[in-house]
């Protein structure tokens, strides 16, 4: 069972969290005007990397914040947990850990 360090609540068991999805995809700002590839990448296309990966988890049984978790899919090591605020904004990047 993973131990995920919520920037707001501290280290908590995986059972408190809900896996949400890939943390590297961006929602096109103008979904109607976006190119086909850009839009398909947002809705359907997901990588399955072997190694470090950014994922979004929600601390569902805690503060309900969405977190950007950098997890190595091979070793299960979690290298970084930060706020996922704005993580799917095009060109944007997640803000730093809990302020």
């Amino acid at each position: 069972m993973l131990l995920i360090a919520c920037p707001w609540c501290g280290p908590r068991d995986q059972t408190e969290y809900t896996f949400v999805g890939d943390g590297t995809v961006r929602r096109p700002a103008d979904s109607l005007g976006a190119g086909e590839t850009e839009w398909l990448d947002w809705v359907f296309i997901r990588d399955n990397p072997r190694g470090p990966h950014k994922e979004i988890w929600q601390h569902a049984s805690g503060c309900r914040r969405f977190l950007l978790v950098t997890r190595d899919t091979l070793t299960m090591r979690i290298e970084r947990v930060e706020s996922a605020v704005g993580a799917a904004v095009p060109g944007g990047r997640a803000q730093g850990a809990a302020a």
């Binding site: 993973l2 949400v20 809705v43 979690i78």
Partner: protein, 1029 residues
């Protein structure tokens, strides 16, 4: 030491197989012919009686079931799984593949328990497995005669039908094969009367195994000040020290163990858990263990659990799990009386039991000489030590002095004997020559050691091959763990102690305690071993079966067959032959199997690979995993504030997610309780004609606050909200990005910056998460807060033509059409309680949803029931509500199935073209615009009376096929009280373009075939007149 006087005599007479039922109980209970007169860690002052297959036997406190059986001369303990070969005790530990027994009776019956780890208690009732009609005479043993016909892969080959027939033959034969197969049997009574607990613990250092290395590690870590948990599967601490008479720091080993235990007991931050198996090593140093609190007792003490599951999060882990000895593969090596050399020493030294009276010891490891010495010291004749090594080391001198014959350069080629056990061995020089027969009733195999790397492998790495040890050892750590002692190939006693101390100190330091320096290791006097020569298997001279995996009846010939047929990789070998797939996970079998395959493929052993070990290390009962979460505690139960009233008024309940909802309210009719159809039809008719109330508190409720609430609504719903005025509500349809419907509900604007919305009961959590996701991750610029208020409000639907008249009696505000028109919202007091009244309808009648704080919900409900008495007010349940929504064609769960678009549901007009929203681009997908898509329609039986059901296939012609192309399926059905005949909703290709067509609704499963007419999905008041005015 003098052997028991009657030892040889009773054994020779085959006492072990005599029908003990015939003997007087008192006599049997007093008689332990193979108990040694002295020594052991058993309590001779506490004799215990127990039963095996009904025979009354006796043992001593401190015995395992296996040692007690051996003490009584019982050598035949079970039959094997496939060939029903007679089997005895192979080991003295949890790696035992053979001696599987059922323990206890009735609801406490437990199958597949290893007799070698079951502690004896007064009155223990054990039965053997895999034998019919009895252990001594087993019809299944006929399989052994057929053995040449049942090779590996037999079932795959024989029952795979010829082309075209598929698995037909297997389907036919399966029931006969299943009857003869299987390990043990399930308890025939239930429920389990015992309780199982679960407990979580955080520690600095977890030490697994309390042998010399584990005890040393716990001492070192404990002295450094770390919080330590030490767990061991056995009842006594000491591990391998319980087996051999070692001397540590000039004291007997048991004195050193006792001193270590007492030091650990004095440390406040050290917890020692005997009888506790750490069975799983998961991510981030999370481990699971099961503590057998009461398995050694006839039944648990009052208020104590039978077992306790420990969930352990450890900063550092020390794996001191020891090693298991390997058997040697030679012909008929499964005869009762052939056992591991370490097991023989355990029975002699720990349990004071002679596992035989004339032994042959065989192996390429100097443990054979230690074993020979231990047996001789107990008075057991060691006829010969068979050493495949050409040169015999100094260890042999003692055995020779004891009068044993040493046969260097020889191997045991076959064990001779029958169901009663081994009677002799056939010994052959490796150089060749005629075999020689040596009489014996005990064969000890010293095939070298396999470190127990299971937990380490579970933690991530693959084990790596160590050529010098001829064994797999732990791979490079992936988690915060280290192995110590025999678990990493440090077999010698002195090495174990030093290694454990070092590992404990290092683990403590890594967890932030101490300087990492190991305490001084105690001194142990040990002789140097001659180099070990593994002997993986002895070629057959013809005849006999050479078992590799005893539990799964896999032989060396099966491995060779797998190789010939191309199942060469370790993963194929395992699945084709079932090698290592038993409940013992091949603890004694895997390495021998790999070595034989490697030899056949002319590869080094690591070239064949090794399989991944998975939890649990040893079998764990479901009870321990389930803990207290059984019966009513299996899931949390959500009850509405009016729940008790529903139950008191005759409502059966239906689960909806975690909620319990009333289905209908049973009244008496003509002196009998109503049927469900009568009750739900009565309720629906009353709502259509008068007034009824329904508890809809389970709907998801979310409040949104902030200046950007309308912008959020516009982005997450497909319909527009810019014009939603304060005090008004609107239906909302929410889509996923791919354009399919996610959920629907009502959206009410309570204030400029305040929205109250509902979701379906099933999707409440999903919708909340959906909104939070977009607010935090996608549109952080929107200033909106979302709060779930599902449980804060009781929601009561008041529905029917008289609903307004009823509400007017209790509300302190005008609920007339002018101030509260359809889709209006007001704040008022209802029955004195502050309420929000929404004029919305799910039934198609004039209706209101009254929301009041949950703690006042029952009060308002009862006030409504009382105020409507003269209107014949009735509560209505899910069934009546469903009937009325089907009559109105409102989509619900069965239609919102994750595959439908707004247009499929007849709501294409709702979709705004003036804004961007989640799902708009998705709706552009060509596939979603296909006119042949399945769309919502109504169906009526052509004869206006045949019943319809949900899930029927809709076809053009019932007589076609199979295959008969489906046009769609019915989603919901009901008996319409308004129309007086059954109706259904369906998703049908082409949708309303088929209006007026005659189709068939069929159910090949039930045989139903109903001709139906396609109609609009709304059967009642399509203009919606009843909603208004």
């Amino acid at each position: 030491m003098t052997p028991p006087v009657d030892l040889a005599a009773s054994h020779g007479a085959g006492a072990s197989l005599a029908p003990r039922d015939a003997e007087p109980a008192t006599h049997a209970a007093a008689h332990q012919p193979f108990r040694l007169a002295r020594g052991g860690m058993v309590d001779r002052s506490r004799p215990l009686t127990f039963r095996f297959d009904g025979a009354l036997l006796s043992g001593l406190a401190g015995d395992s079931l296996a040692s007690a059986l051996l003490a009584n001369g019982v050598r035949l303990v079970g039959r094997s799984f496939k060939y029903h070969r007679p089997r005895g005790v192979l080991t003295a530990g949890s790696e035992e593949p053979n001696a599987l027994v059922g323990l206890r009776r009735g609801a406490r019956f437990e199958p597949n328990t290893r007799a070698t780890v079951a502690e004896l208690f007064e009155g223990l009732d054990a039965v053997s497995q895999h034998c019919w009609p009895s252990l001594g005479f087993d019809l299944g043993a006929l399989n052994a005669l057929l053995a040449p016909l049942i090779p590996a892969g037999f079932y795959y080959k024989t029952f795979m039908g010829p082309r075209g027939t598929g698995t037909g033959p297997w389907m036919f034969f399966e029931r006969f094969i299943r009857r003869a197969a299987g390990l043990g049997r399930a308890p025939d009574a239930w429920p389990d009367p015992d309780a199982y607990d679960q407990r979580s613990i955080h520690v600095d250092v977890l030490v697994v195994g309390a042998g010399p290395a584990g005890l040393a590690a716990a001492l070192a870590a404990g002295r450094a000040g770390a919080r330590v948990l030490l767990a061991d599967e056995q009842s006594a601490l000491g591990g391998a020290l319980l087996r051999d008479r070692a001397t540590i720091d000039g004291r007997p080993a048991d004195a050193w163990v006792a001193a270590a235990a007492s030091e650990l007991a004095r440390m406040a931050d050290v917890t020692v858990l005997p009888r506790t198996t750490v069975f799983g090593y998961y991510d981030h140093n999370f481990l699971s263990a099961v503590e057998r609190v009461a398995d050694h007792l006839p039944e648990p003490e009052p208020h104590r659990p039978r077992q306790r599951l420990w969930q352990i999060r450890a900063q550092q882990v020390v794996l001191a799990t020891g090693a298991v000895e390997r058997p040697i593969v030679f012909a008929d090596n499964d005869r009762p009386g052939v056992m591991l050399a370490s097991a023989a020493r355990t029975y002699v030294n720990r349990y004071a039991v002679a596992p035989g009276c004339r032994a042959v010891v065989f192996g390429g490891h100097d443990d054979e000489y230690r074993t020979s010495a231990a047996l001789a010291a107990a008075g057991i004749t060691v006829a010969a030590v068979i050493d495949p090594r050409a040169a015999v080391g100094p260890g042999a001198a003692h055995a020779r002095a004891g009068g044993s014959e040493i046969l260097a350069g020889h191997v045991v080629t076959r064990a001779l004997g029958g169901a009663g056990g081994v009677r002799a061995v056939e010994v052959t020089a490796r150089a060749g020559g005629a075999p020689r027969r040596i009489d014996c009733d005990l064969v000890c195999m010293a095939g070298g050691w396999t470190p127990v790397v299971h937990l380490q492998s579970q933690s991530g790495p693959k084990p790596v091959w160590d050529q010098a040890l001829a064994a797999f050892v732990p791979g490079a750590a992936r988690q915060a763990e280290r192995s110590a002692g025999a678990a990493r190939g440090q077999i010698a006693r002195s090495a174990c102690l030093a290694d454990g101390l070092a590992a404990g100190a290092a683990a403590a330091q890594a967890a932030g305690f101490g300087d990492g320096r190991a305490p001084t290791a105690p001194s142990v006097v040990e002789s140097e071993d001659a180099p070990f020569e593994p002997i993986w298997h002895v070629p057959s001279r013809g005849g006999g079966k050479r078992f590799v995996d005893f539990q799964d009846d896999v032989t060396a010939e099966d491995v060779a067959l797998a190789e010939r047929e191309g199942f060469r990789s370790v993963e194929h070998l395992k699945r084709y032959t079932t090698l290592g797939m038993g409940t013992d996970q091949g603890k004694t079998a895997n390495v021998n199997g790999l070595a034989i395959m490697a030899e056949l493929r002319k590869l080094p052993i690591p070239g064949v690979g090794t399989t991944t070990f998975r939890p649990p290390y040893t079998p764990v009962t479901w009870g321990a995993l389930a803990g207290r979460e059984v019966g009513l505690h299996f899931n949390p139960i959500r009850r509405t504030a009016i729940h008790d009233w529903h139950v008191a008024n005759g409502a059966p309940l239906q689960t909806a997610g975690l909620w319990l909802r009333p289905r209908w309210y049973v009244r008496r009719r003509n002196g009998r309780p109503e049927t469900w159809q009568e009750a739900s039809q009565r309720e629906a008719v009353q709502v259509r004609n008068g007034v009824g109330i329904c508890d809809v508190s389970t709907l998801g409720k979310i409040e949104l606050q902030g200046p950007d609430v309308i912008e959020l609504l516009n982005r997450v719903y497909c319909n527009g909200f810019s014009t939603l005025a304060v005090g008004k509500a609107r239906y909302g349809l929410m889509l996923r990005e791919d354009g399919l419907v996610l959920d629907d509900g009502t959206v009410a604007r309570l204030a400029e910056d305040r929205i109250f919305l509902t979701t379906t009961t099933a999707n409440a959590i999903k919708v909340m998460q959906h909104l939070e996701y977009y607010l935090q991750v996608v549109w952080p610029e929107l200033r909106v807060q979302a709060t779930s208020v599902t449980e804060q409000w009781t929601a009561i639907a008041v529905s029917g033509p008289q609903s307004r008249a009823l509400l007017a009696r209790l509300a302190d505000a005008d609920v007339g059409d002018a101030s509260l028109p359809h889709m209006g919202v007001i704040h008022a007091r209802v029955a004195g309680v502050p309420a929000r009244i929404f004029r919305i309808s799910f039934t198609g009648e004039r209706a209101f949803e009254v929301n009041v704080p949950s703690d006042r919900g029952l009060h308002v409900w009862e006030a409504l029931m009382a105020a409507g008495k003269d209107m014949d007010i009735m509560p209505y349940g899910l069934e009546a509500m469903g009937t009325m929504r089907i009559e109105k064609g409102h989509p619900a769960g069965a239609e919102l199935d994750g595959r439908t678009t707004p247009d499929d549901l007849g709501m294409g007009r709702l979709v705004s073209t003036k804004k961007e929203f989640v799902g708009r681009r998705g709706l552009e997908r060509p596939g979603l615009k296909d006119p042949a898509r399945q769309k919502l329609v109504g169906l009526m039986p052509a004869d206006r009376q045949s019943r319809l059901r949900g899930g029927m296939q809709v076809v053009a012609d019932r007589k076609v096929g199979p295959p008969n192309e489906t046009l769609g399926h019915t989603t919901s059905s009901a008996m319409s009280p308004t129309l007086g005949h059954p109706v259904a909703l369906a998703l049908v290709s082409g949708g309303l373009a088929r209006r007026g067509e005659r189709l068939w609704a069929v159910s090949p499963v039930t045989g139903m075939e109903v001709e139906v007419e396609v109609t609009a999905p709304c059967f009642v008041d399509p203009e919606g007149r009843r909603l208004h005015g």
